[in-house]
Assembly symmetry: C2
Homo-oligomer: 140 residues x 2
């Protein structure tokens, strides 16, 4: 309560009032939810893929030969290792990706973008960018 007064009287202090931290966090939450929901809806409706799946495809498309190690995917998608594993399994089931054995380290795998996967990514990209442009700057 008196924190709101301090803010009103002294103006926004750029340091790190508890009040300010909470406001920044709520802003981050709202912003994230808005963009994520829009992306999820548009990508799902128009191309049948989720946000995480798109991020995975994007990493692959920007990689050499459309291939990358399974672990690199895990780092990118902000998901647990198990969830990332199942994400690859889904993409494979959908024919967007293939899993190939890694010769040098036979524990690991390579995830490789198929032609169909590359096409789906290219198709989805404008939808993705458009949703970003619409929602990322909408509420400033």
């Amino acid at each position: 309560m008196h924190q709101m007064l301090a803010h009103a009287i002294l103006g926004p202090m750029i340091g790190g009032t508890e009040q300010e931290l909470v406001e920044e966090w709520h802003g981050l939450l709202a912003r994230h939810a808005a963009v994520h929901n829009a992306l999820e809806h548009d990508l799902q409706a128009q191309h049948g893929i989720s946000v995480s799946e798109f991020e995975a495809l994007e990493l692959l498309a920007s990689s050499d030969h459309g291939k990358c190690r399974g672990q690199d995917l895990t780092n990118v998608v902000h998901l647990s290792q198990s969830a990332a594993s199942r994400l690859v399994a889904r993409l494979e089931r959908g024919g967007l990706v293939e899993r190939v054995m890694c010769d040098l380290d036979r524990r690991g795998i390579f995830v490789v973008l198929t032609d169909e996967g590359h096409k789906r990514y290219s198709d989805a990209k404008p939808t993705h960018r458009s949703a970003l442009a619409r929602t990322l700057r909408a509420d400033d």
Copy 2:
């Protein structure tokens, strides 16, 4: 590809290069994941509540008489209506909250913070703020 060159040669243009939108989105994703994971871990480990549950308790604690309409909760937690309903059910099961009939509009409910609920919120609050302070400014 030429987008990266444009960025390197012309410098960051503050308008809305596609490249810039994507970078801003990835930053938002990373930031959200970092803070959310830390909050979720700390709140769960030390107080047995999730981030959404904490947000709900915080709304209630800041409301008059610790009561608010079910729909107000839905708006705050960035969850679907059904998920919010189950969230209240969980909180009720845990004894942190009670559902009471709303007399004026008997479709709706009031969600009321119990004494135990208020205590759990007060206990969790420092943990929450501490995690925010640690993660929200950590990676600038």
